[in-house]
Subunit: 219 residues, 2 copies
DNA sequence: CCAAGTAGGTACCGTACGGTACGGTTCGTG
DNA sequence: CACGAACCGTACCGTACGGTACCTACTTGG
């Protein structure tokens, strides 16, 4: 065995295949559709194997989260020189990616699952989800706005606060509404533009033109 | 019987008592703890009465939402003359109230319930929750920022967009995190201040001092 | 004082789940 | 070839839920 495989889940291909089916079931039918019998049937495996591999239903859920997270590797952005324009573009790209991720089928289903469980398992799944799913995107955004500050393009005292401001401007109540079953935005890109413009108005060092303050047309 | 009781749920005191117990069970143990047998035991009533009153488990859940919503009547704010200071204060009050409501036990439990059900009932509960719970607070905020605009204290093209900006600045990802089981903010008032300051920087007509741009210390 | 409606208590039914056990089959390995 | 491990399919068990039926006790109104 290799000494250091990080905290890689390290599932076998067969297990990954089963986890993929599990995600499919979850997305299609929600919590109730993800039964051990149903999964065994859908994935052409035996329940005994499920319990051998994942130990428990909760273990299966945790494995699903880990599996999904392992697919969404965040690509480290090169440390290129930041200009006002490239910062703006990177922020918009981040915003679009964030909206894209949050409105994804699997993300919504997993969040619903974790939220549903949070009342009875002491939010173990919720912690897992935040750890695996959010830390990556948090890191990316923090690195970006930090670079912006070092390049003299952004100004703020508290990076964490600034990031949460950015997040709020991008997402607003959209995530919860989607979790409750409402459809997503018609135009993610438009929302991303507006959010980044507002963020730069608040924290940018360059005077943004009044154009950025004009918000028009809605969801 | 009185002719017009609006769309008041109009439950008997006994039924309200039972619904109160149902909410308590839901808050304490989540979805799984709210069983018909458990509720009948906790509320000292019979399962048969439950089904006679609410028809169905889903009917019970809907009744719980209606019951809870009927408790949180939003008080219509008087149409007093708005100054920059009073607008600021009203916005901060709104922000604090919003954070207060969202972090309430019952609100979180009901949102978790609706989110958990949203995959299987076509988001019927979710719609109900948004209708009953959110419309009130939305109305209040829209009326407020609309007054602000008419008084020349705020500027924006799209009131809905401006409101969502305000909402995002206040709540950010806090709601989802709390739904996932994380504790709330230490200091709601501080968050409310920061959000309102940022909102006024974006949409206020008066030049806010640089002080309002300085974000310090975090969650 | 009694009839009728209302509500509580309990037993029951069908179902479906999580979890386990067992026999048969494939596959890698010495 | 033979052995054992892994795995599949299925049958099974205990439990707990939603929902129903039945019976009793209390109130209410004439």
């Amino acid at each position: 065995m290799i000494a250091d495989a990080s905290q890689m889940p390290d599932f076998t291909p067969r297990q990954n295949e089963v986890l993929e089916q599990a995600l499919r079931l979850l997305v299609e039918g929600g919590d109730k559709a993800l039964t051990t019998s149903g999964l065994a049937r859908a994935a052409n495996c035996s329940k005994e194997s499920l319990y051998k591999w994942f130990g428990d239903r909760d273990g299966l859920l945790a494995a699903m989260i880990a599996h999904q997270a392992s697919k969404v590797r965040t690509f480290e952005r090169g440390k290129e020189r930041l200009t006002a324009e490239s910062l703006h573009d990177h922020l918009e790209l981040f915003a679009r990616d964030l909206l894209e991720v949050l409105s994804g089928d699997v993300s919504l289903a997993l969040n619903r699952l974790a939220i549903g469980q949070s009342s009875r398992d002491g939010s173990k799944l919720g912690k897992l989800l935040v750890e695996h799913g959010r830390r990556q995107i948090d890191r990316r955004a923090m690195a970006l706005i930090d670079s912006g500050k070092r390049a003299g393009l952004l100004r703020f005292d508290d990076a964490d606060g600034a990031y949460h401001t950015l997040y709020g401007l991008i997402v607003s109540d959209l995530h919860v509404r989607m979790l409750l079953g409402e459809p997503g935005l018609k135009d993610n890109a438009r929302q991303a533009e507006k959010a980044v413009a507002a963020f730069l108005t608040l924290h940018g060092t360059r005077q943004e033109s009044g154009e950025t303050l004009r918000f028009s047309s809605g969801r």
